[in-house]
C-alpha cells in the first residue's frame, strides 16, 4: 500500500518557535494558558537551548541559540518566529526519502537530539519553503538501542 493510500507516517509533535531569549518570550505564552512541560534543555550539537510548552493549542518548543551559535539568526532576522513543524515518524529514512521525492531538500541530516533522549531528528525544507522536523518514533529508537 502506498503512502497516498494509507496516508503518510507522520504524527504532529510540535511547532518550533525561534526566540532571542526563552525567558523573555515565555510570559506571552503563559498568558495564553501554556505551561512549561519540564526544565529547559540544551543541545550543543544543534546549538540551541529549548523549552517545551503545553496549553490549549499545539505543543510549542521555544528555542534560543546557545552562546556562539547563529543557527536561529536567519529566522529571527527575517522576523519569522514559528519556523518549523515537527512530525514524529516510525520511518525517518523512508519519510525523508518520500519528502525528497516531493522536492524537499535536507536542511540537516539525522542526528541524535538531546530533547528526545537521543532519538534522531532531521530537518527538510519543502518546496513551499516550510521547514519540517522529522522525529524518530520512540518505539523504533528503543528497538535500535536494544540492537
Amino acid at each position: 500500500m502506498t503512502p497516498a493510500e494509507h496516508g503518510p507516517d507522520l504524527t504532529f509533535h510540535h511547532l518550533g518557535v525561534a526566540c532571542y531569549e526563552i525567558q523573555a518570550e515565555l510570559a506571552s505564552w503563559l498568558v495564553l494558558g501554556y505551561r512549561p512541560e519540564a526544565e529547559p534543555f540544551a543541545d550543543p550539537a544543534q546549538g540551541i537551548r529549548g523549552l517545551f510548552l503545553s496549553g490549549g493549542g499545539p505543543r510549542i518548543e521555544l528555542l534560543e541559540a546557545l552562546p556562539g551559535s547563529s543557527v536561529l539568526e536567519p529566522w529571527l532576522r527575517g522576523g519569522t518566529k514559528i519556523y518549523h513543524h515537527c512530525y514524529e515518524t516510525y520511518d525517518l529514512e523512508g519519510e525523508s526519502q518520500r519528502l525528497r521525492g516531493f522536492g524537499a531538500a535536507v536542511a540537516k541530516p539525522a542526528i541524535p537530539a538531546a530533547a528526545f533522549g537521543g532519538r534522531r531528528v532531521s530537518f527538510l525544507m519543502l518546496p513551499a519553503k516550510y521547514l519540517i522536523e522529522l522525529l524518530e518514533s520512540e518505539t523504533i529508537s528503543a528497538g535500535q538501542a536494544r540492537g
Binding site: V71, E73, P74, G103, A105, V106, A107, K129
Partner: protein, 81 residues
Amino acid sequence: MIGAADEVRLKQVLAEIFELDPSTIDGTTSSDKVERWDSLQHISMIVSVEQEFGVRFSEEEMSELLSFERLRLALASKLTQ
C-alpha cells in the same frame, strides 16, 4: 557548461532568493560576498534550483554549492547526465 538560457534562469533564481540584480551575478558571486546568502537562504535556493531544473543534489553536493560558479558547474553535470 550550461546554455545561455539556463544560465539566465539560474541567475533569476539566485536573484529572487538573495534579492540581487541578475545582471550583477557572475563567477565571483558567492556566499561570503552576498549578505543574504546564509544557511537558511542556501537551502531555500537549493530547493528552488532543484524545482526550476528538475534535478536533485545530494547532501554532500548541497554543502559545496556556495557560489554561482559551483552551481553552474554542478548544474551542467546534472543536465548532461
